[in-house]
């Protein structure tokens, strides 16, 4: 079972019941809305139990990007999908901490591979 779509330039792929989104670094308000739309649609359509958000191409973050991640995790949780944010760069992590956005309630993993293993293990 595999499907593929793009929204605002960010590709969404579903592999074995796991939705994978790679966030692009040039997101604006509008494309975030589109992306969120597509993400929830995709989760509902495939009945996925896991969502992996890859932010390895994000070089700069602000409170907006931080809120976006939190919101996406929240939405997925409502659809009974566990969300894991992966691939955060050291500089991004430091900026978020300085901004006081520790993304409580959002799970993290080093890379998509690890996240996939976590979701499969169901722990």
């Amino acid at each position: 079972m595999e499907s593929h779509s793009t929204s605002g330039g960010s590709p969404i792929v579903t592999i074995t019941g796991c939705v994978i989104v790679a966030i692009r670094d040039d997101l604006d308000d509008r494309s975030v809305m589109v992306l969120q739309d597509h993400l929830v649609d995709e989760i509902a359509r495939t009945g996925a139990t896991g969502v992996i958000i890859d932010i390895s191409s994000l070089e700069i973050v602000d409170t907006f990007a931080g809120r976006m991640l939190g919101a996406m995790a929240e939405m997925s949780k409502m659809l009974n999908a566990r969300t894991i944010v992966v691939g955060m760069r050291p500089a991004v992590a430091m900026t978020l901490v300085e901004l006081g956005m520790t993304l409580q309630g959002v799970e993290t993993a080093l890379n998509a591979d690890r996240a996939m293993a976590l979701i499969k293990a169901g722990r």
Binding site: I84, P90, M94, L96, V97, Q104, T108, L110, A115
Partner: protein, 289 residues
Amino acid sequence: MNDQTISFATIIQEDFEQILSAWLRNQAIEGVKRTDLVSPRETEAQSRELLAALSRALKTAGIGDDFNFSNPAWDPVREALEQITDSRTQRGVSPTEMFWFIASIKQGIFERLKNTVPDNSNHLIDEVWNATRLINQLALYAIDTFVQKREAIIERQQSEMTEVSAPVVKVWDRIVTVPLLGTLDSFRAQTVMENLLEAIVQREAQVAIIDITGVATVDTMVAQHLLKTAAAVRLMGADCVICGISPKIAQTIVHLGVDLPNVTTRADLQSGLAYAYERIGLRVVAMKD
């Protein structure tokens, strides 16, 4: 030559050798020659060089009301001073000795002024004042240079210390640790955080152990830095455990009212490592004999 034209500048130019030898004599009298550190020949060469630079500069630069030591005319004098201070302080000459080394030039000049300018002359006092002013400036500049050199050394040592004091070590597959030593200020905390996060990416670490056994004191600032580091590690997708918390530090943290939410803490490195093994699904067992 009438007495109005006799000035401290002309004396240095005309009686150069006498003043130089008087200066060297005075250095010995004041006990600042430090023959154990600087050879007499070197001292003479340095003194001669400085006096010659002074004599040349006095030809063009004013020393009356318009005296200004930052004037470009004094550049060669400043350069000579810097060189002398540098070479002398590197050998362990103290600031006091450096000051007297310069200030002992005065007596020879005053001596010559006294012999050439008639008694009870206001002119004599003016010239003594001009000379004093200039030579004090020279001495202060030497001290300034001395302090600057020292500060440069301290700065260099500090940066070297920061670099070596935050090594991130891989203790096992997917486990990295950073042992912290000494005091943890904002600058060092930042370096530690950067190094640790980079290591997590490079080594694909799943657990990061921060060992604070060697941290002398934990105050609210240090606790804040530790919290931030732990939060950043979590964002990277790894677990963070802070270990080496002595009973005293545990008390301090509680008394300070610092909250460490969602941070795993352990008493020593061993329990920190045990926690890390557990997180990556490993167990240490005794060998069967």
